[in-house]
């Protein structure tokens, strides 16, 4: 106790720091968030609902959901496969793979979008072949999905690699030595052990997928009612001085952010809980403790 007191700052320092932090949060996070909702409902609830039920708004919401629904399963597949190979096997190019996974974090989203235009656009590398076969990628849903995939793919893998490395191979080897096939081992042992980390990664990837602007903006072509996602829709309405419409659409995104935050907190809490269980099960504690005491300690 005395050591804790000894390193504690004076009361006024603590108050000052707390106030600064809270003020900062208020000015730059809470205030803008509140402003979104205030502006969205400025013309009343009916106008808000009407703005959201416009065909173009509905189409933007639908497209955003569709793109997320395409990107997330791909991310789960890729993330689990990449994390598994990195955490479980030694192979040539492992370091390169780890670096590559981080690439989308390092590259500007606009550049990412541009890369796809250069590859699949009408003047691009595969442009002629694609138009000859009547396949549209740029300025269409496939392009938006590709761009979204590019910017979101590190999330799941990044979350799972350290988790799987920490857990080690023992449980999987135990499952196989007990006669489990590869699939049985994956479904019954590996997946249950990584499920919270996986969910956490998916939540982060989802938030990014639905909110992505830069990369999608480059490849979308801004065709109203067809290739506008929610963030693009917000920008268009705002540029047309349609305050209520822009902020109504923005409020949907803001709401999504809040849901993401709550889901993230819940999952983080569950993960911490499991990590505690994990560390408890690894500690070479004394085995002599009577079971009654062990259960009481929980």
């Amino acid at each position: 106790m005395s050591t804790r007191r000894a390193i504690t700052e004076p009361r006024w320092v603590r108050l000052l720091l707390t106030t600064v932090a809270l003020l900062f949060l208020g000015c730059f996070l809470a205030l803008p968030l509140a402003a979104v909702f205030v502006e969205a409902f400025a013309a009343g609830v009916p106008a808000y609902l009407k703005a959201l039920s416009e065909p173009e708004a509905m189409s933007a919401i639908w497209l955003t959901l569709l793109v997320a629904a395409i990107a997330l399963p791909c991310n789960v597949l890729f993330g689990v496969a990449a994390a598994w190979s990195i955490a479980r096997f030694e192979f040539r190019g492992k370091a390169a793979l780890i670096t590559l996974i981080d690439l989308p974090f390092a590259v500007s989203p606009v550049v990412a979008g541009l890369v796809f235009v250069l590859l699949f656009g009408s003047q691009g590398l595969f442009g002629q072949w694609l138009s000859a076969h009547d396949i549209k990628i740029i300025f269409a849903v496939p392009g938006i999905a590709l761009a979204t995939l590019f910017v979101t793919f590190p999330f799941v893998a990044r979350e799972l690699i350290p988790l799987m490395q920490a857990q080690g191979r023992d449980e999987e080897e135990a499952a196989v030595s007990l006669g489990a096939s590869g699939w049985q081992m994956f479904w019954r042992v590996t997946l249950p052990n990584i499920k919270w980390g996986l969910l956490y990664g998916v939540i982060l990837a989802n938030a990014r997928a639905m909110g992505e602007f830069g990369a999608v903006s480059v490849v979308s072509g801004h065709i109203r009612g067809e290739t506008n996602t929610l963030p693009l829709h917000v920008e268009i309405l705002y540029n047309e001085y349609n305050q209520v419409g822009a902020f109504a659409a923005a409020s949907v995104l803001a709401l999504l952010a809040l849901v993401t935050l709550i889901a993230k907190t819940v999952v983080e809490w569950r993960m911490r809980h499991e990590t505690e269980m994990l560390s408890a099960s690894l500690s070479p504690e004394a085995a002599g403790a009577p079971p009654a005491a062990a259960s009481a300690a929980r």
């Binding site: 030595s177 489990a180 690894l282 070479p284 085995a287 002599g288």
Partner: protein, 358 residues
Amino acid sequence: MSIEIRGIGKRFGNFVALDNIDLTIPTGELVALLGPSGCGKTTLLRIIAGMESADSGHVLFSGEEATHLHVRDRHVGFVFQHYALFRHMTVFENVAFGLRVKPRHERPGDADIRRRVTDLLKLVQLDWLAERYPSQLSGGQRQRIALARALAVEPKVLLLDEPFGALDTRVRKELRRWLRRLHDEVHISSVFVTHDQEEALEVADRVVVMNQGRIEQIGTPDEVYSTPASPFVYRFLGDVNVFHSRLHGAWAEIDRSPAGLAANGGDGDALAFIRPHDIDIERVEQHGSLAARVQDVHAIGPAVRVELAHGSELIEVELTRERANGLALIRGDQVWLRPRQVRVFAAESAGEEGGSGI
């Protein structure tokens, strides 16, 4: 089921983990692989289990080729050092796992699984913990559950990696007696890895002493302790005093006193190994005894440990309390040492790390 290992070799890069190992484990025996860390004992165990593949050599189960058999087809029960219990499953489900993942036509019914798991939990005396999770168990309980889980699939061989390594001393002693009794009850060929000589000597029918990827000696606990085949085994199994010695043909001497028969003959420098309890201390000089001066006397439990200086060498002698009381040794006393049992190895085979190794 018997296990035969023929010429197994394994390298990790430049490091030779196993160097041409030959070993036969007869049906029903409990065998200890004993050695310091890094001697290859765990690698050998994992090769027997099929979790590691050997670079060369063969593994035979009951005389049949098993070298390239997959882990899941070997029917071995493996108990991991840190137990590797499935942490998201209850104790019951952990033990039932091996039965539930069997192919449909072999899989027992639910009632059958319940009965077999309950029987196993009774065997390890933990049936009252069935609904707990691994994190709610103590280390010793986890160890026994890991054992029950491995036994559930009725393995032909049981392999245990440092089974008591992560437990405290008291529990370790209890558990190893329990493992010995369990082995006598279920009687399946078992191999366990340990670096603890006491554990190996107490539990195993046969001890395989390993060092630097090679087998130094195979024998019953009594054989490896009382007639070690090499200086390494002597040093590794219990405390030992090492005297500088000279060989004259089959005879060795320490300080011009005849000390005993040499294990490998020849002429030249040699090292004589004597266990602390194989030396007697006397007040009067006799033929063949060595002069020493008492440096310290510790009473440790039932024994009394005496440290003496013999020239520049430090000697440790273990006496019974009765004997020590009769001698009434105090620091600085001039006494005479009389070795009861000596083994002499030529210096080159004893290695460079001579001196008085305790």
